[in-house]
């Protein structure tokens, strides 16, 4: 049977109907991973993947009521902990670190019978937007080996784009799911902050981190969020709100839906070659009954400095535990404790991580705190209020995911600021805490994928999936 590019829901039907076995499916994906090994998307295929598959087949053959993800092979980002497996967060610091416990998302996957195939490449500690900051080498774009995969969850995005798994998990702190999804032509969700438990996700910026989902279509994504979302007593910031069966609300009708366009974003998009295709999407939606409104957020461009203050600040604190004393890699034969700290951290942390630690320490220092961190927090509160206002009048906000197609590997590594600017459209959802999804809507001048971002109000993933599904299904007509 041709298994290529099947969605999770299609595969579940095939598995339940016993048209394919979990072992067959797992072997198919392992072959795909090996075939595309040169992309450097997958860091490790877990040696018990086939054993997990065999167990699933036994369950399928003997049980009447089956878990929701039985036999579905999934790849997880290297910063999501799976008990007994290495979880290195793309860093040499945790090269041999074996997780002591299961993250909540992994536990949910296991409970629902998914097969965890392996772990994917990423920017070290999720700090980066190109996957070039991985200590294990960059991951290449699914469509062009000279281009970046995007990041930080580059490996997870490329793995779905090249059909190395049925779906994958990533993490999104400032666009780390949506941007690589956009660069590789797939669907990537950053849920509401606290919608999916962060327990067992190696922290980068705790107030912005979310676990995200990469899928081949919107329907899969909606289906998976219903399984992975929910309150967790191990995550004090997880949301208590009810989790819907999102898939039941997908429709092909956007008549009367109110879409907001942010003026300040429009002005930025106008300068890009991307403007045309973006405008076409808006027109298409308008023609199908959606009501477009232009709104203004005067401080919109402040999102980047706000993000690049808060994220490094929290990141610098979260990185502190990697000190060479307990479970990390470390430099032996040091004279004293300070030397263990400095030598270990100098040797095993990458350049970008060190840069952000320095930045974070600076903005948190008692002399700078109020001019940077506190100010950034205050602006983020203002932005939250602005978006609340927008969503009182509107169902959805549209914006591009990125400025354009995937860029050349190495083209921005010497200029961190040019790399940071790439995050202009994605960091907003993290700062505000709202859900955002990137869906493929076409290709740019290099023939590489482009994504559209659909944002909705906090906890309103229902609305978000509805609109995203419409655009996704009609992308051929646009």
């Amino acid at each position: 049977m041709n298994l290529e590019n099947k969605s999770v829901l299609e595969l579940l039907d095939l598995l339940k109907a016993k048209k394919i076995s979990a072992v067959e499916l797992t072997k198919y994906y392992i072959d795909r991973i090996k075939k595309f090994n040169y992309k450097n998307a997958v860091l490790e295929i877990f040696d018990d993947a086939l054993l997990q598959a065999e167990k699933c087949d036994l369950i399928i053959n003997t049980k009447k009521i089956l878990p929701k993800l039985i036999g579905i092979p999934v790849l997880i980002k290297d910063n999501i902990l799976y008990k007994g497996k290495i979880s290195s967060s793309g860093s040499k610091m945790l090269e041999n670190y074996v997780a002591e416990y299961n993250s909540t998302v992994v536990q949910k996957l296991l409970d629902e019978g998914a097969i965890i195939l392996g772990r994917t490449n990423m920017d070290e500690f999720a700090m980066g937007g190109s996957c070039e900051n991985s200590a294990y080498g960059p991951c290449k774009n699914a469509y062009d080996d000279t281009k970046v995969s995007g990041g930080s969850s580059g490996g997870s995005a490329v793995a779905v784009a090249l059909d190395m798994c049925a779906f994958s998990l990533g993490s999104d702190t400032g666009g780390s799911v949506r941007q690589p999804a956009s660069f590789n032509g797939i669907v990537g969700l950053k849920p509401t902050y606290g919608r999916i438990s962060r327990y067992g996700l190696c922290a980068f910026a705790s107030s912005l981190d979310t676990v995200g989902i990469f899928t081949k279509d919107v329907k899969d994504n909606a289906f998976l969020l219903s399984i992975l979302a929910g309150d967790d007593k191990l995550d004090g910031t997880s949301k208590k709100a009810k989790v819907d069966s999102y898939i039941d609300y997908l429709s092909d009708n956007i008549n009367g839906k109110k879409i907001a366009i942010i003026k300040e974003v429009q002005e930025l998009v106008k300068k890009t070659k991307y403007y045309n295709i973006y405008q076409k999407v808006l027109n298409y939606c308008q023609n199908h009954g959606a009501i477009l409104t232009e709104v203004s957020i005067k401080n919109y461009t402040k999102v980047l400095p706000v993000y690049y203050t808060i994220a490094p600040a929290e990141g610098s604190s979260n990185m502190g535990r990697f000190d060479g004393v307990k479970y990390t890699s470390n430099v032996k034969d040091c004279k004293n404790i300070s030397e263990i700290y400095s030598k270990t951290r100098s040797k095993f942390l990458g350049k970008e991580v060190k840069r952000r630690i320095m930045l974070g320490n600076f903005v948190l220092s008692s002399e700078q705190y109020s001019s940077y961190y506190l100010k950034a927090k205050n602006i983020s509160i203002m932005l939250k209020k602005e978006f609340e206002k927008i969503f009182m009048q509107n169902d959805i906000v549209f914006m591009p995911t990125t400025y354009g197609e995937a860029f050349d590997i190495g083209s921005k590594t010497q200029d961190p600021v040019s790399m940071y600017i790439e995050d202009m459209f994605t960091v907003t959802a993290n700062i505000v805490g709202i859900p955002a999804i990137s869906i493929p809507i076409g290709v740019g001048e290099n023939g590489l994928p482009l994504g559209l971002q659909v944002l909705s109000a906090e906890l309103n993933e229902k609305e978000l999936y509805c609109m995203a599904n419409f655009v996704f299904l009609h992308r051929g007509e646009i």
């Binding site: 670190y97 190696c202 910026a205 995550d235 929290e314 307990k326």
Partner: protein, 476 residues
């Protein structure tokens, strides 16, 4: 010679008495084998998140209430970032901008009100164990994540006596409100002292020196006295006092510098994004108030009304378990004065002889009350009561059985005494002869013999006149 004033402020850390740690589900118990009360959360493993223990917050609020603090309507937890091997996450979860409690204080006997600046909740760090035989240092994380309250006073104290009075009260208040067990030898109550000296009648404050981590009242007193003398000596020899942190050496009884101000950490405090701000409503406070056990001051007032002396009250209330035992005995007997006597003597003695033992297990409050009632009703002599008490402690036997077994109660009548004296005189006729020359010795001798042969039941005040009468009659 110039005169100087002392300006002293304190920071006190008390471990909060909770079942589990502040941010995970590990047991909060002292004395377990190293690293057996740890989990991924308190070890700070990647991906773990703190889960706030609401009981710890509640007890911090109780501390605030018993010291008359204002309770903040919203409180936040912050990260205090610094590197140290016993700090698993390289930051301590503490409070900075919005502590749970503000203000409040304790009034001293001299009328001075010592103000608190704040009381906040934070987590303890692990413990480093330096091995003597080699260069290694080991870390025990059992204590890591144990909830602490930090109490910070204003610099209102002026001498070591005030400090000790303040701390004595503070310890007892915490103990009685159930906030902390305050076990100093286990590090359950620790003190940092900020001290400066200034010339009398001037407004120029001296340079402040901080002494860290003292864990006994004795050390506090000695450290203050040592440091005062040191600073005065420095000033008088024309030297500058350096702003620094000093440690106390308990063996040599000296302080020594460990860190100068220039080397002070910038802790880079910021609100911990993993813990949402906590709202404390008036309703929350009211329902917490209802659960506060009888406070130290209420206990004192109650004992005063019973008629106990200040000295008795002070002694009985120093340890809560002793006062609690006293209250238990009171439930079975109303002879509080006699009970207090027994508490002050026998009970305090056995708690010293057998520390860390539950008194009630050695002798139940009911048994002690029974013995005391027998004394008061003159059925049991004091001597026999003591014998009985010791026997209960040593054998664990039931009080009534022991009384029977040892034959400690019963009437000794006139005929018994006449018979016993008859035996005594038959045995040793010299008694009568010597009585004339040496009556007191002979009487005492006879009393001793008779008390012994009646198993102590014979009461001296009863038998003495009888013995005299018999001896006199024999002479004639």
């Amino acid at each position: 010679m110039k005169e100087y004033d002392l300006v002293i402020g304190l920071e006190i850390h008390a471990e909060i008495d909770t079942k589990t740690k502040a941010f995970c589900f590990c047991k909060n118990e002292f004395g377990a084998l190293p690293n057996t009360q740890v989990c991924p959360i308190c070890l700070g493993l990647p991906g773990t998140l703190p889960i706030l223990n609401k009981k710890a917050v509640e007890k911090c609020i109780i501390a605030g209430l018993v010291f008359g603090c204002d309770i903040n309507e919203e409180t936040i937890f912050e990260r205090k970032n610094y590197f140290y091997p016993d700090l698993s996450k390289s930051y301590q979860i503490s409070q900075f901008q919005k502590p749970i409690c503000k203000n409040g204080g304790i009034k001293l006997k001299n009328g001075k009100f010592v103000r608190f600046n704040r009381i906040h909740l934070e987590e303890d760090a692990g413990k480093l164990i330096h091995k003597d035989d080699c260069d290694e240092t080991l870390i025990d994380f059992n204590r890591g994540g144990v909830p602490l309250i930090e109490m910070v006073t204003e610099p209102d104290l002026s001498n070591s006596n005030e400090v000790i009075e303040f701390l004595t009260n503070l310890r007892r208040i915490l103990l009685y409100s159930g906030v902390s067990k305050c076990i100093m030898q286990e590090g359950g109550l620790r003190f940092d002292i900020n001290l400066s000296v200034k010339e009398k009648n001037t407004d120029n404050l001296g340079v402040r020196v901080e002494m860290k981590n003292l864990n006994s009242f004795k050390a506090v007193k000695k450290a203050i006295e040592y440091e005062t003398n040191r600073q005065i000596k420095e000033i008088e020899s024309g030297n500058q006092i350096i702003q620094e942190t000093r440690a106390w050496n308990d063996e040599d009884e000296i302080t020594y510098g460990i860190r100068e101000k220039e080397n002070v950490n910038d802790y880079r405090y910021f609100p911990d994004p993993d813990i949402v701000p906590i709202k404390i409503s008036k309703h929350d406070i009211e329902s917490i108030k209802k659960n506060i056990p009888e406070t130290y001051f209420d206990r004192i007032i109650r004992y005063k009304r019973l008629g106990l002396s200040d000295y008795e009250i002070d002694t009985l209330t120093d340890e809560k378990f002793i006062a609690d035992y006293f209250d238990e005995v009171l439930k079975y007997s109303s002879n509080y004065k006699e009970i207090a006597n027994w508490m002050m003597t026998e009970i305090l003695r056995i708690t010293k002889e057998m520390p860390n033992t539950d008194i009630a297990k050695l002798i139940s409050p009911e048994s002690l009350a029974y013995i005391i009632d027998l004394i008061i009703t003159k059925q049991l002599t004091r001597n026999n009561a003591k014998i009985l008490f010791e026997q209960i402690i040593n054998t664990g036997k039931e009080v009534k059985n022991l009384i029977k077994e040892l034959d400690l109660i019963g009437d000794v009548n006139k005929k018994d005494i006449v018979d016993l004296m008859g035996h005594l005189i038959n045995e040793n006729p010299n008694i009568v002869k010597s009585y004339k020359d040496n009556p007191e010795d002979i009487i005492n001798y006879c009393i001793g013999r008779i008390v012994k042969s009646t198993n102590g039941k014979a009461k001296i005040e009863y038998i003495m006149p009888l013995i005299k009468e018999i001896l006199k009659s024999k002479i004639n």
